[in-house]
Symmetry: D2
Subunit: 320 residues, 4 copies
Amino acid sequence: MPTILGQNQYGKAENRVVKIVRDGDTHHIKDLNVSVALSGDMEEVHYSGSNANVLPTDTTKNTVYAFAKEHGIESAEQFGIHLARHFVTSQDPIHRARIRIEEYAWERITVPGADSRNVGSQDAGPRSAGADEVKHSFVRKGQETRVSQITFDGSKWEIISGLKDLTVLNSTNSEFWGYVKDKYTTLREAYDRILATDVSARWRYHWTDDAERMPDWEESYDQAREHLLRAFAETYSLSLQQTLYQMGSRIIDARDEIDEIRFSLPNNHHFLVDLEPFGLKNDTPDGAVYFAADRPYGLIEATVLRDGVEPRIPLDMTNL
Amino acid sequence: MPTILGQNQYGKAENRVVKIVRDGDTHHIKDLNVSVALSGDMEEVHYSGSNANVLPTDTTKNTVYAFAKEHGIESAEQFGIHLARHFVTSQDPIHRARIRIEEYAWERITVPGADSRNVGSQDAGPRSAGADEVKHSFVRKGQETRVSQITFDGSKWEIISGLKDLTVLNSTNSEFWGYVKDKYTTLREAYDRILATDVSARWRYHWTDDAERMPDWEESYDQAREHLLRAFAETYSLSLQQTLYQMGSRIIDARDEIDEIRFSLPNNHHFLVDLEPFGLKNDTPDGAVYFAADRPYGLIEATVLRDGVEPRIPLDMTNL
Amino acid sequence: MPTILGQNQYGKAENRVVKIVRDGDTHHIKDLNVSVALSGDMEEVHYSGSNANVLPTDTTKNTVYAFAKEHGIESAEQFGIHLARHFVTSQDPIHRARIRIEEYAWERITVPGADSRNVGSQDAGPRSAGADEVKHSFVRKGQETRVSQITFDGSKWEIISGLKDLTVLNSTNSEFWGYVKDKYTTLREAYDRILATDVSARWRYHWTDDAERMPDWEESYDQAREHLLRAFAETYSLSLQQTLYQMGSRIIDARDEIDEIRFSLPNNHHFLVDLEPFGLKNDTPDGAVYFAADRPYGLIEATVLRDGVEPRIPLDMTNL
Amino acid sequence: MPTILGQNQYGKAENRVVKIVRDGDTHHIKDLNVSVALSGDMEEVHYSGSNANVLPTDTTKNTVYAFAKEHGIESAEQFGIHLARHFVTSQDPIHRARIRIEEYAWERITVPGADSRNVGSQDAGPRSAGADEVKHSFVRKGQETRVSQITFDGSKWEIISGLKDLTVLNSTNSEFWGYVKDKYTTLREAYDRILATDVSARWRYHWTDDAERMPDWEESYDQAREHLLRAFAETYSLSLQQTLYQMGSRIIDARDEIDEIRFSLPNNHHFLVDLEPFGLKNDTPDGAVYFAADRPYGLIEATVLRDGVEPRIPLDMTNL
């Protein structure tokens, strides 16, 4: 036979699941987009169309919704672990499950005096809505999308989390000069420029084994995001590569549970507009006017990892 | 001649302009997308291709960037007023200018102790960055896009402002029942449902004349947005139409400077998932699991206006 | 009462309906996206939330699917007429219905000899698949989206049809010079440039009354599209406005059933790249290299109409 | 040092280049979106911000445009080979270049009699415009986007080509039954269903060495696309996996120059609408009405390869 089947996977993609938990009058929301990909003994369905080993993608969708009820959604990672374990352990032909999750954040709508109108006074746990927050009303936060990928092969776990579309900008403390000049180089050096990007980052957890203690996924995400933002803000940047490395190494240094991180950073160019034809000086130190360009854009990608660790995050993770 | 020319307009669309103002170490950012549309004595360019009356769209683009420097960007509305007045008063063939602006909000990145590292102690005006904010580092806010449309015909102004893509959700206090049932009706009545929408709203200002006192555009926007969110959160809703009307009338009541408001509200359906085939009760009072649907969606549109005022906001303003 | 309700409408938007008709082995496909908007006695649902006059949007969705079976989809316009008439005539509180439809075109996949493998020899009507066409296999055509809007108020019809996203380009026979120059003008005149646009057009039919003979909607669309393309190709253009007018007047002249047409034409700029710094001449007569820009872009909009006819197409029809 | 740098790459992404070649009055167009990614001795720019080894991304952009003039664009693959070779051989620190290209197809606008109006009679080469085609007027084809990825490490080439967004549909000859049923399975078996997908495919060429004879990239693309479409149309499908495998093996069998192919195929669900509540039978053999769903969707991915060949196409190539 001249042709053979290689790696293959299947499942239901983009199951949009919203879970509301009611804690008295205070409601909590989880808003996920869950994609399932299963692999295993699937040669026959490709060769002959026999579905004897195929759990329908429709069933994987049903499982997502049922598990949201049965297990709840403590965190995207924990939810994905429940799902991946289920598929691999409950179906013989399935040897590997990969769950990808996007999470959309919401915050509470605040209304002065809402607290007294909506709740009894004894309700004040750490996860409760604060004073002036309406306990069942939310506005979508709208910044980055949190992402995670949970993979299980029956014995070991691989957890990759991260975020995408976190748009940041420094209006100074960025330079670019001293680069290679060849016959196609026309760029002028810059000593005070805008540095802006849409951060896409994926970090891999050290945790791989049920016997080890699992990280606190929610806290780890919040902390990694915080370190990333601070490294962006505090780095005096001579290149976007330098900023990238600072963001990555800050997270690796600060978070023991994270071994590796990969970034894909578009350089969102803001070009100083030439206003001299109109008799105007567009002077950076004075404040300036920029053209925010769409395409093309620089694209800087790199992995930062703990020394001694083997890199495992795919180089093109666009769909995580 | 069997065919004639009707209404026409032209200009440069989607000029992306970013303005940084430096107030000592504290930077301020305005991030706009500006579209220019001019009308007037433009028959000839359509009939014969003569451009004798045509100010190039490239020139309208240059004017946007030059004005960002010359006049600054106090608010999107004020910036559009400068531009519209210029085009109509400086070019005889141009009788009407319409400026549409999208504005993207940014907030400062906070880093503990950032204040002391970045600024001198005397810097503390109301628009300054607060303690722990990096004075030149920003993260895009990512919620709604603020929009405005400024039209000038040489004597009168029409200012329409608003927002789009403000995604909100109430996880209770929404019902839907008592509706008409015909032979195609299968929907079951709902006594506790999720109500969610992406608010798109446009409001028209009373101000039309240079002789009148101009509203404070920034404060007016903030207040209208606040009233809209509160009305959404506080309304116990029997239909999305009722919620819409509450949002609109709250703004008309509270803001004298606004005469009319139009909403376009998709009903972002969250369907309770039937988990009974799996032996699970998906019970609303207990918290529940929902499928967040894409298409189709209900679409509710209406104008709310001050009694005695003539409605002027176009019914389809999708591109404002 | 200080605030009142203005124009309002509601319904289910974006019902994606695919209809397959089997003519022996030869299948025919219609692929539509149907949006319903109803108006009438709807004050109460806005003021008090009473749904007593409200036919649920879910019911309007059901009606779309049921009508695709009951009436078939001869054309988008005819299908919309069935729907609009039904809503206005079957429900007292509904006084006006507007149906918007997007249609996606498909063509047959061709395979040499497919005809003999798939059909009996007697099957050869004009709508049948040709020789070498697989009679149930389709590839989406992928060019423009056909659009239509059918409005009925109980006595008169308004039918607006058209297309969007038809991307066209002339690589010569386009100039731009002789324009107004003010202090912000830096553009250089062009005597041989690329002219490219994504055509968005809406045309209004003369037909308004059931008593008149209805146009052949399918043929009318094909012919209008053809005239539009030919006018684009054959016009030696001194401005995009001139090309727009030629496209519109060609259709008005050639198609008696069409009274008015409105265009929204982005000027998809293709800038000649300056290669002189690299010792290269980027010479238009010789063939040339262009940068295809995203934003900003010129935007040219105008109505062309039959003399004596009142214009009725809204100036901003972006969502038709 | 606790953290180190892993794989990294940089360059200018999404350079939109349009090349017009004039062959007398007959013009030819190539419309590409070119992304450059370079790797090599780039530690320092990450660690210290020194750009001493960094050829600016702006220079890589200039090179794309200059090469379009200097070398022309015979095919996307050949163009990428010129670029990749240049970067690796002209800059010591650069050890590897990856060029990704999207290509958008155009076809000529036809006008009866256009030939005689536009050209002399002697112009009739195989690449000339046909009779009735306007020789400088084009309409974008609008179906799939052709993609290619050219990688060079200084000695070996890797060429991966393919397409994305080719939307196809079979209205019969598709079944799905005999699958695994677990406690979460509710799906009913189907014996005559719509099968539809947006084909995304990437194939890898055998060619790796300048010493070997290079494939005819244009012909190879056309043939691979043709085989893919025919396999889709001719396969009586018991599962989308089976159809995928048929498409892949047909290409591997027929095209010696291709060693491996990977597919990512969403199952674009078309659900038969239940019309029984309205007293209607929605019968497949008779033609039927379907709801075309957005999300979730099945997602089927697999590699098909020549026996004995090592798979090298990344499993997630979404951005190729």
